[in-house]
Symmetry: C2
Subunit: 212 residues, 2 copies
């Protein structure tokens, strides 16, 4: 990327770039925390900048609008979380019921933590706030595709077998429903039984899908 500004010696440019990247990352992480705790109404650029220890001006330099900031934040943290999950797949049990259960637990964990709570606030705000709607639809499509692909891979699901694709989708839908059920109260005890049972069913279906 040779631009006029590239006349600056590389040595003095790099720390500046890396400080800027660090600021950006702090803003994105603070934005997800704010959304999860305070909801859309309470999450302003000012509140996020304060939490990130950055001036409001610096925040606006990185993200010109509130919508830019929060959409980028949910996208960034989701990508990081998926990457962390991918890095951990070596720890999963080998193919079989124990692996299926571990994968279902992993998916459900993604949907019941602060990231899902943040995404939920953004999602519901997008239903009535025009400037958010198109962005969140695009984000939802992107995240949905990535999560589905990861689930298929971790489960070792044969998507060409009729019904398997829909069964994996149903698993993501159930996880989303469990996330919602965990919003106001700790749904953990009930969820444990549902997840265990779902994993048993999923394992049996992946091994031998029911005939159409």
């Amino acid at each position: 990327m040779t631009t006029p500004a590239a006349a600056t010696p590389a040595a003095s440019r790099l720390p500046q770039q890396s400080r800027s990247r660090a600021t950006r990352r702090r803003l994105l992480e603070a934005a997800v925390e704010c959304l999860a705790e305070l909801g859309w109404n309470g999450s302003t650029v000012t509140v996020v900048a304060e939490r990130a220890g950055v001036t409001r001006g610096a925040a606006q330099h990185h993200f010109p609008t509130r919508e830019d900031l929060f959409t980028a934040a949910v996208e960034h943290v989701t990508a990081e979380r998926l990457a962390a999950v991918r890095a951990d797949t070596g720890e999963l049990p080998p193919a079989g019921p124990a692996r299926t259960e571990a994968v279902v637990e992993m998916i459900v964990r993604l949907y019941t933590g602060p990231l899902f709570r943040a995404a939920l606030h953004l999602w519901v705000a997008a239903a009535t706030e025009e400037p958010l709607r198109e962005r969140i639809i695009a984000l939802e499509n992107h995240v949905g595709r990535e999560s589905h692909r990861a689930a298929v891979e971790f489960l070792g699901a044969a998507e060409s077998t009729p019904g398997v694709r829909e069964t994996v989708q149903a698993t993501m839908d159930m996880a989303r429903g469990l996330g919602l059920a965990n919003l106001l109260t700790d749904d953990g005890p009930r969820r444990t039984g549902v997840v265990r049972q779902w994993a048993r069913i999923l394992d049996a279906v992946l091994a031998a899908p029911p005939a159409g």
Copy 2:
């Protein structure tokens, strides 16, 4: 209920009571419509009163606070919807795969219409608005129990069989996730495949639950 006011002759009291009940019902229905369309931020008592064709004072006579109005509205419309579903169960096919599919479709329909959308806005608002939180937790418990009971009944599920209770719960969680997936875009085409596949699985599991 004999009170001093009961001195009014019954004939003139009854029409007044029935007008009051009709006003109350109009307010409750308008409140659910507003929530579904405008979200929590846009749903004020004034907006609901206008839509119901009632003065703001009359609305406040029935529901002293905004929280009273919207909590009562979601509760009322849910009860009406469940009663309507119960009234229609005679139309369901006899026990077997066709009935299971019809029941799953019915449950998912409840979670993908305007009533769920209204409840979702209220639910997410309750995560950050203290005056709503306790009421919505109580409402969620009540509605969850009623819906679960109805699902068990319509499916003819034997809850004493290990795993059956959790399988029905998973069905409700999946339906809730499908409701969320339908918030910003029409998820109907994808949903059809998921519902059909889940109905097949559910039917097989209810007939012969997988061993623990």
